[in-house]
Amino acid sequence: MISPHGGKLINRFLEEDERQKVLEEIDRLPSLTLDPDLISDVENIATGVYSPLVGFMNRSDLDSVLQNMRLADDLPWTMPIVLDVDRQTADRLKIGERVTLRSEDGQPVAVLNIEDKYTYDKEQFALRVYGTTDLKHPGVARLSAMKEFLLGGKLEVVNLIPTPFDRYRLTPRETRLLFREKGWKTVVGFQTRNTPHLGHEYVQKTALTFTDGLFINPVIGRKKRGDFKDEVILAAYEELIKHYYLKDRAVMAILKMEMRYAGPREAIHHAIIRKNFGCTHIIIGRDHAGVGNYYPPYAAQEIFEQFPDLGIVPLFFTSFFFCRQCQSVENEKTCPHDRSMHVEFSGTRIREMLVKGEVPPPELMRPEVARVILSFEQPFND
């Protein structure tokens, strides 16, 4: 089984006796309300998805991540995991103090032990992480709305916030045991935020040819307008796995996390997360975690050269298409036929058909999957 990132799978959930003690004091502590994206970060720190992080980043780690794409101890890490607060809150809280972190409905989720309190340069943050300061970039827009101070420190977690998809929610400890029970020594992770078409199935099965198991890991959480709803993605994949995959070779579980659309940096982040889940390999396609035209199409593959110590092996896929002559999904290395015979896997085109209530042709999408998607009255986020 592959080691967790940093060598140890983090668990920040308190044991029951400690948990009860903290719950007794929790209402007496100052309180911060976190939005759902930050709650996801707390939960991912708690369960070891973000190993080796044990809390929100201090300034030394943030600076090192921004500058070097590594934590202060040199371990690869590319995405800041930070907690922002306004000036008034920063003035009120002291280093060494404990503060309760609550969800928007007031539920206590964790206690933060404040170790650091600091300001940061948003422009530098945007340029380093997203490669742009364009406010049309969703990650930059989110950053610009963040408050001006950051708090760093370790978390003691008391509760997980339930989701409607908890039936698919596994912690890294659970996936690692699952892979062991399945007898999988090598596991390839597939990150997705879309329903599956034949191109996705092609890359997954190609990767599965060289590994023991496939871990389909859809991202659940805040996404863009026009993205598929989470329940639609899960139902579509359930249908695909049921009809077209061997039960012993493919499993699915969700990753509850905000998509940052940071392209190359986020590709590394996704690889680290799947390593923590127990994957030995990860599929990285064209423009992984990208949005619009902010990143060169294969920058998210090229960045892996800078991390020979990442531990998880990336499997790079370039372009693929359905060839009407070959009558199969092919890529530029396997198909000798003219481009006029190629049918591109256009997410936009597939979406247009589905919006009109049309079943996409079978060379683009499995009919069972299309029927499931069309069974939803409104499959897309407004």
């Binding site: 967790p4 698919y168 400890r173």
Partner: protein, 71 residues
């Protein structure tokens, strides 16, 4: 504040060998090459010492069975 880089001594012969090796490659310096190789080596040496207690293993298996992941 801690310095970002520090010095390590290696035999001159080894330095020259590396210098020759990286000529014409994307690697900009002997230091970059050495850092890359050492990071790779350290990552390979990492053992997975993960162990499940019998109670934890039983609890996880029950959940996985209940969710249909294992029989």
């Amino acid at each position: 504040m801690e310095k970002e880089f520090t010095s390590v001594s290696i035999p001159t012969s080894l330095y020259k060998k590396i210098e020759e090796k990286i000529k014409g490659t994307d690697i900009s310096s002997v230091s970059s090459y050495v850092a890359k190789v050492l990071r790779e080596s350290l990552a390979r040496e990492q053992d997975n010492k993960e162990v499940f207690t019998p109670e934890e293993e039983e609890k996880i298996k029950e959940r996985l069975k209940a969710l249909g992941y294992i029989d």
